[in-house]
Amino acid sequence: MYPFGRGSKRLIPYLLLLIPLLLYVVFYAGPSVMTVIYSFTDMKNVPGTEVNFVGLDNYKSLLFSGNSSERWASIGRSLYFMFVVTILQNGIALLVAVVLNQRLKGDKAYRAIFFLPVVLGVAVVSLIWSLMFDPISGPVQQLYSVFGYKDTFFGSFTHAFNYIIFVQIWMYMGYSMLIFLAGLQSVPRDLYEAGHIDGTSRWQAFRSITFPLIAPSFTVNMLLSIIGAMQTFDIILATTDGNFNTRTMAYDVYKETFRGSLDMGLPAALSVLQFLVVLVFVVVAVKQMRQREVEY
């Protein structure tokens, strides 16, 4: 029952709900659907030009035309980025969370420090690491020179992408760690006591007690990393701007939309491809993780 009056007063919740609904449809859901539609047209970024349906032409020219080797390289890089970031970021984060969960001295301060990069933001973090990785005066170069090694970092055709991956993990490791910590703190301590009496080793305890119980936070982390890694391009934009073999699918969508040709159909088709890749991996990850989750 609606307790706030009758008649026209009954309509007030609808009117207020209309604001978020409109905003969502106009700025998000609408454009999202339109992008899918554009991907089958030769839409130009020029007002007043004719728009024709071209079927799968955009997809064909993306994937199977003369210059699509660059495209496949971007797609490959996106997948590489996703796998490496998901595995390393979650692996390190889980290790750190388990260590901090033993109630080390100062654990609250450590977890705040590891989360700091998220607060600082991409603009600041990218600039900090551009300074650290400066090929002439940067401290990392000085460190390398001790071992007789030299690098051009974000200006290296072979290594720039890996340095971007490093910055990405450095930035978001703290976030994954927090999610694991939340999961770990919900594991009842007496389970370990029971395990201890039964003579389980630390590793066994982790594998058969901790891991199944924190599986939900594992699922959340996997999904966030997969979606995040496939869709972010801000660190790439801020460090190499796509030069030195660092373009990914997400960066390509941005580049072709805002600074590329006037053709809107191509980046739209690329967005749809990006969406399909994310969808496949999310479904696979969720299926895998669901099997590991247990309830107590």
Partner: protein, 278 residues
Amino acid sequence: MKRSKSVNLLSYSLVAILLILYVVPLLFVFNVSFKSFNDYLLDPLGIVQNFNFSNYTEAWKQGSFSNYFVNSVLYTGTSTVFTILISLFAAFPIARGYVKWGGLIYFFFIMSQFLPNPMVSQFKLMLFFKDHLPFMGYDSQIGYILLKTSGTGVVFMMFVGYIKSISRDLDEAAGMDGCGYSRFLLQIALPLMKPIIATGVILTAIATWNDFVGPIMYLSSPGNWPITAGLKEFKGQYGNNWPLLACGITIVAAPLIVLYVFIQKYIVDGALDGAVKS
């Protein structure tokens, strides 16, 4: 469980290595920011000998950071307030069942997390607005604020969960006393939701303040740039003058770090809440 000495040692070494990785870059930037350009080139790593405070005044002037700061505060403030308000407008009636098809609308809103990347048509939309409704089109402050405001994201989902835990008797009692719907939302429901609103404010404010690609995509005039775009421009201008750039980094990061020290507990808990509930 008992902890052995060796495990303890391993744990502390891991934490120590990570602390170096997370703290040293910040200290390094701070150190460089006080060096003159010549001192920096001669000895990039050494601890600063002659403090060169003029770097800061120069960076502040050259980078026109004051203007960017005002914009950042404006964008973060408005889009955070709007996001909280309209998330409440969306979440409350759906959580209470005061509108028809609430479940369907909820599902429709949640879909925002999974839809294909809307960037291409968003750009076209903003260009369309520029021609027909210039006040909210491409390269307008209002347009950017609208893009950053959403009543259907993570904040909305957290609100729905929280509102379900508030007793319905309150609604009935207030309605009996003749309190209207909008007054109830703003004067009774909103104060009751303080903890979850704090989380929502923190999540939205961090995301807006740090938005790096949005301003680059949708704001072309420097007069409209927030601090993130300003910092990128500053880097473009001063290329390798790292002492000046380090001042820029410090000017942008220091207020955030100071603020973070004071409210870090809320931020960390807030981020945690947001992550777990989404």
